[in-house]
Symmetry: D2
Subunit: 126 residues, 4 copies
């Protein structure tokens, strides 16, 4: 941290970088607010709507789309002979769009190699 160049101009984040930071905040918020929520086939759609609408409240967040992977959920419940489980990344497909100072950032979360991966998809000038 003893970096005397820290306040130099070239460390100042660009608008596009700030837009990406904002997009990351939304993803981390969505995941860690709702992970662990009791989840069944019956309650999946109300949870998805609440996740979308609550995160859309956050600054610069123009669109959130949450799909619960009901096929995966169905399999998990059958394997466990259970009627409900807890929300984790394996049941989620999420797209979040952030608009910040003329930049649009598109981000997605989906499973990759068995892990929920949050990914920066595109950074656009509007």
């Amino acid at each position: 941290m003893a970096d005397d160049t820290r306040v130099s101009d070239d460390e100042t984040p660009t608008d596009a970088e700030a837009a990406c930071f904002e997009a990351g905040i939304k993803f981390g918020s969505l995941y860690h607010q709702f992970a662990g929520t009791p989840l069944s086939l019956e309650s999946a759609s109300s949870l998805a709507r609440a996740m979308e609408e609550s995160i859309e409240n956050q600054p610069h967040c123009s669109d959130v789309t949450v799909e619960i992977r009901t096929d995966e959920l169905d399999d998990a419940l059958a394997a466990a002979s259970a009627e409900y489980t807890e929300l984790t990344g394996r049941f989620l497909e999420v797209e979040i769009v952030v608009d910040y100072e003329g930049r649009t950032v598109v981000t997605k979360m989906a499973m990759e190699d068995g892990y929920p991966l949050m990914r920066l998809e595109a950074v656009r000038n509007r």
Copy 2:
């Protein structure tokens, strides 16, 4: 804990006590799963539905009713000149009904002296 009477009969919980324990679990779950969720007048009803339906998944939970106190929310947003805030107990009225081994337990959460108080309302034989 060095209590050699621990397994004696009179320490065994009654069905009514177990029903009350179950009801408490639901309340603690509901509050700590969703506290901190971004909340606005627009997203209040989808969040309330998701809270109800997700907690109703839990064992022995027959009914959950969540009302967001929109008047209180409106006041808080106006006072802060904000468009959204975070869910805390001051914005909630909750009733949870648990049925367990022939006992029905009714519990409520509401503000009392500025605190969200979770209260055991009634324990009934069905």
Copy 3:
């Protein structure tokens, strides 16, 4: 709900029932506050301490003991070739003691048939 006997005396919860309700609140709080937290062998003990100390703040909560099952965690990390995972019930052993109006309630959470089961262990007069 159309129960005109609702306010009759015999529906009034006993102190022991209220103590069990309080114990349930603590368990639900602990689980749903911390489920989903990033967890590794290195961070397990600081998380366990924080869980204990934060829930002990709640009213009538005299003692909370959280053990992270590091053997189970080690297995899960090895199976996934991962360095961390998320906290779920399979990694937890918890005991919570509540004292309320002269009653002591002992509760435990441990795995049973692959599920984290919260159980009321004993209800004592002090």
Copy 4:
């Protein structure tokens, strides 16, 4: 979304933008995992340590520093004549450092005009 230029080269995120996205994820995770946790002067330091160590598990996260603002907490408890409250942004000062593909991103959260503001502080080439 009907944007046929979406996969064009100039929409591909830079390493610095991806690093900022990663930093945002950590902040959103930290805040929404732990907001609502019961908090007192006694439990503040164990919670701060757990927040640091758990979020440091996340990919590319090289350092997390959490300070609980105990003066502010003291004031809040005194004003409410309470022994504990719930963790919200007003009690937090956080710095998170992310290293990603040769970029170092420094981010901070602190109160500004009564709101906890997450801010991108610097983006550096190492």
